[in-house]
């Protein structure tokens, strides 16, 4: 599991984007987990909790949402969802979980078979929003 490295990146990014505010003023962080990367939510949350020990950011400020993976074929214009994609075996799925761009190796457009498609959403980890307390602590 490499969830810890990603949880660590999220915390680092929040800390680097405090803009001079106190860490304790972080009220809400909305983290999107791209479906393609197949992150284990419990392990990720546990990672956040562990890494936040001794820090002034409360782990409960983190809201985590799964973002559906959607694809658009550059060749024929077809769009589809991960749930509509067939035939990825376990090892291929594992490779994509390590590196979502491996989708271009193991997935194809359901309409034309092309591997030239765009990952429209749901690739990996991103921070959609950071909210702070209005009253500075």
């Amino acid at each position: 599991m490499h969830e810890l490295a990603l949880a660590d990146a999220v915390i680092d990014a929040v800390e680097k984007n405090l803009g001079g505010r106190d860490p304790s003023s972080v009220k809400r962080v909305l983290v999107m987990l791209g479906e393609l990367q197949n992150i284990d939510l419990e392990i990720f949350e546990h990672g956040l909790k562990t890494l936040l020990e001794g820090k002034a950011i409360d782990y409960r400020v983190f809201s985590i949402e799964i973002e559906e993976a959607a694809f658009l074929c550059n060749n024929c214009g077809e769009s589809w969802k991960l749930s509509e994609q067939s035939e990825i075996d376990e090892e291929e799925r594992e490779a994509i979980h390590f590196l979502p761009e491996m989708a271009h190796v193991y997935m194809s457009c359901p309409n034309c078979g092309s591997r030239d498609f765009t990952l429209e959403s749901g690739r990996g980890v991103s921070i959609a929003e950071i909210e702070f307390d209005m009253i500075p602590k």
Binding site: A5, V14, A95, L99, H104, R115, D116, R123, S126, I130
Partner: protein, 247 residues
């Protein structure tokens, strides 16, 4: 916001020096020079090898390894393919399957590899670059300021011209160029001076040359034979200069 960008430096903080073998020209020996250099350096240093030629990954072939999915432990652990030599590259995930990527994918893959790979303490991280002046070159410039470049040229006017263009881009961004090396020297039957002149013209060190060694391709995949070859013998002088050039 992309949280991965905030940890790139941290992930490389245990790496003393990062050396990229670059050229912009294809087929000049970036892969074989970087891979064999990594092997040579690993004799008395802790070395990582990062194959950044995502679309033409070759280092695993030179090392004679059948890639398989890496271990995870709080991140991705680059497998130690040889004593003191750990490896990371898309080939661990794609094997010899084609990896067709557009630019945005390439940037995403580079950022991912750099942000989730847990390198142990390393003396050298050697990076094998792809041809061109695209995402890989431009992203390394913006993400790893302390990168040191070995620029590879061959005795060919086509290589010289393309390499000259890469040097212009590296100099524009104040990149640290350790030197220009010539590979496949004598290949055209004469001992030309092109690479030395290219170095002088650009005010860069000429760091040495490696001759064209007939039969080298037959050694690909056999590390012991490669390391005993005249190729490795000549390349050793360059790796010694890399060690000595500690900035």
């Amino acid at each position: 916001m992309d949280p991965r960008l905030s940890v790139l430096e941290k992930r490389l903080s245990g790496v003393r020096r990062i050396i990229a073998f670059a050229s912009a020209k294809g087929g000049v020996g970036k892969s074989i020079c970087s891979t064999v250099s990594a092997l040579l350096l690993s004799r008395d240093h802790r070395v990582g090898l990062l194959d950044l030629d995502l679309q033409g990954a070759s280092d695993h072939l030179i090392l004679g390894k059948n890639p398989s999915l890496p271990e995870e432990d709080g991140g991705i652990i680059p497998p130690a393919l040889f004593p003191n030599l750990s490896f990371m590259g898309v080939s661990l995930f794609s094997g010899n399957e084609p990896v067709p990527l557009r630019g945005q994918d390439t940037t995403n893959a580079i950022v991912e590899l750099l942000s989730v790979t847990i390198w142990k303490k390393l003396d050298f991280l050697v990076i094998d670059m792809p041809p061109g002046i695209g995402e890989e070159v431009l992203d390394l410039i913006r993400f790893i300021e302390r990168l040191e470049y070995i620029v590879i040229n061959t005795p060919s006017p086509l290589s010289e011209s393309v390499v000259d263009r890469l040097i212009k881009i590296l100099k524009l961004s104040d990149a640290r160029i350790l030197g220009i090396m010539e590979n496949m020297a004598g290949m055209d039957g004469s001992e030309r001076n092109g690479s030395k002149m290219l170095a002088e013209r650009n005010g860069i060190d000429f760091i040495g040359k490696v001759h064209f060694i007939p039969g080298l391709d037959g050694m690909v995949g056999n590390v012991d034979t490669l390391l005993e070859s005249a190729f490795a013998n000549e390349l050793k002088i360059i790796t010694e200069r890399i060690k000595a050039a500690d900035l």
